[in-house]
């Protein structure tokens, strides 16, 4: 069997001395799906760029690199341009941002031929799209990218990447913008191409199910390479064990029986512009003490509007909304947001953000020292005891910021926490940590209202789930 890609002692060094990839060697055989996994900053994307000749003029690449038997170690920009599309395909992370919003989807697929000066027909495009299970190709390829769903658009990107049947396709986090079901469909489409696939991902679950072999990257080094079965049974490196931690199931949970209701919405709907725009269709919702309730819905189904209703930032147009006494005091309901960095004050040390709820009008006044101590305690409980409490949010990772936000939301033990897509910006390891922390909060008696587009996540987390829209 020939190797589609051989990479020997590959190092990438950027101007300024940053070396994100150090002496990485691996090979991908024809037809094989090889996955590179690692946390953020492990060097995954730098490798992908180096393998496509897109590392930029300033970056210095050392080591041997061969694609389909062709030595590309010292290839010119021109040679790379000829190779891309024919010798190696590329599928980018976010399908929407990798498509020009002003051109129809069919155009993007056609470009695969056009940029090599090859003639292309609509039939060829339609054939490529149909092969990846896209329905009504005739009319759909004339639509614009924003009207397509992420999963379908990503499959169109795959059609474009594989149009000239390259022996290997490099996919850099191809599913991070998608939920689990759609992600699997995209991966199936990739595997169905029959060519070698270099899959770059932080999602261990997905990689375990789809890759033939897995390479674990840690701080620019390839620390372990093996089949999924072996890695799962006997992970050798601590980074592998850390990544595999995301696959551990959450501990079983006993939903509270007959909880005292905290908030009750009956037939509540919201409309704007004198009823012309229906932001939220009539919905019933009840959240009881210490319950975890999930709200699932696609974008535009009114998830955020419902949350604003619950938070009291908006009033319903119709229906009745009842709150229990426990929710009346200020600070009894605290939020967790989708954007963890934006939810912390950028110029404050994190302890100050965490301790902020202690400054509420109805809280007794505490000296700075006591607030600091309480903040440290809260940071400890979310597993951030090792970071400096004086750190600014910009010095932390996204996952750490979200844990700081959870520390803030739980410091006063509120009656209800409202979490709006709390995991959508996080990698799978951080998702696992955040899930555990929300569970812990519920066990201490705080109800959690969890909003997400990800059904699988809600199924794992929530005692019951309500679907919006549809």
């Amino acid at each position: 069997m020939t190797a589609a890609l051989i990479c020997e002692d590959l190092s990438v060094r950027y101007p300024g001395g940053n070396t994100p990839v150090r002496n990485v060697s691996f090979c991908v055989s024809a037809g094989e799906c090889f996955a590179l996994v690692g946390g953020s900053g492990a060097g995954k994307s730098s490798i992908a760029r180096a393998l496509l000749g897109l590392h930029g003029a300033g970056a210095k690449i050392t080591g041997a690199l061969s694609l389909n038997g062709q030595d590309m170690s010292r290839a010119s920009a021109d040679a790379w341009r000829r190779l891309r599309g024919r010798g190696v395909g590329f599928v980018a992370q976010n399908p929407w941002s990798s498509c020009d919003p002003l051109r129809p989807v069919g155009d993007h697929v056609a470009e695969a031929w056009r940029c090599h000066g090859l003639p292309v027909t609509w039939q060829a495009i339609a054939k490529a799209l149909t092969a990846l299970d896209i329905p009504n190709v005739g009319s759909r390829q004339r639509q614009y990218p924003h009207t397509w769903s992420g999963g379908m658009l990503q499959r169109a990107s795959i059609a474009a990447a594989s149009a000239l049947t390259p022996p290997i396709v490099i996919a850099d986090e191809p599913t991070s913008a998608l939920d689990a079901d759609r992600a699997q469909k995209v991966l199936d489409a990739l595997r169905a191409l029959g060519c070698a696939v270099l899959l770059i991902s932080h999602d261990m679950d997905l990689v375990m199910r789809n890759a033939d072999r897995i390479g674990v990257l840690y701080q620019g080094l390839l620390v372990e390479t093996d089949t999924p079965e072996v890695l799962l049974k006997a992970p050798a490196h601590q980074e592998t064990r850390r990544l595999l931690g995301a696959l551990e199931p959450l501990p079983p949970r006993q939903a509270p029986a007959n909880p005292t209701p905290l908030i009750r919405l009956r037939d509540v709907s919201v409309a704007y512009k004198r009823g012309q725009v229906q932001a939220l269709k009539p919905v019933d919702l009840e959240v009881g003490e210490a319950e975890i309730v999930g709200i699932q819905g696609a974008s535009g189904s009114g998830k955020s509007t419902l949350l604003r209703l619950v938070m009291g930032l908006e009033a319903p147009s119709r229906g009745s909304l009842w709150r229990s006494e426990a929710l009346t005091p200020r600070g009894a309901l605290l939020p967790i947001f989708q954007d963890p960095i934006g939810s912390l004050v950028p110029h404050w040390p994190v302890w100050r953000s965490v301790a902020e709820p202690l400054l509420a009008k109805n809280q007794s006044r505490r000296p700075v020292k006591e607030r600091q101590e309480r903040a440290l305690e809260a940071l400890n409980t979310v597993g951030l005891g090792s970071i400096s409490p004086d750190a600014r949010p910009s010095e932390l990772s996204v996952g750490q910021c979200q844990r700081v936000a959870i520390a803030r939301a739980t410091i006063t033990q509120p009656a209800l926490i409202v979490a709006d897509e709390p995991t959508s910006a996080l990698d799978s390891v951080s998702i696992q940590q955040v899930s555990k922390l929300l569970r812990q909060a519920a066990e201490k008696g705080t109800a959690v209202l969890l909003v997400s587009h990800d059904k699988g996540f809600l199924n794992r987390m929530a005692d019951r789930t309500i679907s919006l829209g549809g």
């Binding site: 938070m311 600070g331 939020p335 950028p346 040390p349 709820p357 400054l359 009008k361 400890n380 090792s386």
Partner: protein
């Protein structure tokens, strides 16, 4: 496993400096160059304020248009006045005036803009209409008009420049405040029951001030240029007092004969603009993704 912190141990100086804005600017390569340059100009202006080697204003016709020498390192002008003394004497007017005008428009803009953005409603509407009126007239024309009413003079020039410029800062501060008001951390604070004052002072004001400060620092170069320009036209500093722009204006008849008359004040203006832009750019970098400038 549990971790604990030694709260009694204060952070070291280097830790404090690393988070302090000035410390961050110092660690920024071009920011450091800008700060050193700015410090040099500041010291230069301070020296000129208290001492000059020769009297900057008294003519000395015998030594007119002397090339740079040991006695006169920057040469002399058409009436024999020492150019080093005049540059020293003019430094505090040029730099001080630019800083004064910018601080004033920064403060006025920050207060009015943040108030409009945070309070909203009728207050916002009224304040923004005033801003609209101020912005309909081009800045230079407005400054000329004010100077026409008040008459030429250095203090009047500063007043004119403040009147011409404040509205832009107010408008920018308002939009920054509006943006900050809808940030998740503000919503979180509101729900936690934090008072409106605390939210404005702790969450909104510092962010707006920092970003507005970046814009203002980048405008310092332009402001020195504007003041020099007005002095060049004779509307700013009045003779015999020195100011870099006025020195430049005086040089135009003689610069073929005595190029140092042009090079010296132009060089100082260039260095000030360079310093301000380097610090402004560094400030934008260290302020991170939060800035718009």
């Amino acid at each position: 496993m549990s971790f604990s912190f030694d709260l009694t141990r204060p952070p070291s100086i280097s830790q404090r400096m690393s988070r302090h804005l000035l410390g961050q600017l110092w660690r920024h390569k071009s920011g450091r160059v800008g700060l050193i340059l700015g410090l040099f100009l500041f010291v230069f202006a301070m020296i000129g304020f208290v001492w000059t080697p020769h009297d900057p204003n008294v003519p000395h016709y015998i030594s007119a248009l002397k090339a740079p020498s040991f006695a006169h390192p920057f040469g002399t002008d058409a009436t024999g006045r020492d150019m080093l003394s005049r540059s020293l004497d003019g430094a505090h007017r040029s730099l001080g005036a630019a800083l004064l005008v910018l601080s004033a428009v920064f403060l006025i803009g920050l207060l009015i803009g943040t108030a409009a953005g945070v309070i909203g409603g009728v207050v916002d509407m009224l304040l923004m209409r005033v801003v609209d009126i101020a912005m309909t007239l081009p800045g230079l024309v407005l400054a000329f008009a004010v100077l026409g009413i008040l008459g030429p003079g250095f203090v009047n020039l500063l007043i004119a420049l403040i009147i011409a410029d404040w509205a832009w800062y107010a408008r920018l501060a308002r939009s920054l405040a509006l943006g900050a008001r809808s940030k998740p951390h503000v919503t979180a604070a509101k729900l936690a029951g934090i008072s409106q004052w605390r939210i404005v002072l702790g969450h909104i004001f510092p962010g707006v001030a920092l970003q507005l400060g970046v814009v203002a620092s980048l405008a310092l170069g332009g402001m020195i240029g504007a003041i020099s320009g007005f002095s060049f036209l004779g509307l700013g500093v009045q003779p015999p007092h020195a100011e870099w722009g006025a020195l430049l204006a005086d040089s135009r008849l003689y610069f073929a004969l005595a190029p140092w008359l042009l090079i010296v004040p132009a060089g100082f203006i260039f260095l000030s603009v360079l310093s301000a832009n380097l610090v402004g750019n560094a400030l934008r970098d260290v302020a991170g993704q939060e800035t718009i400038a």
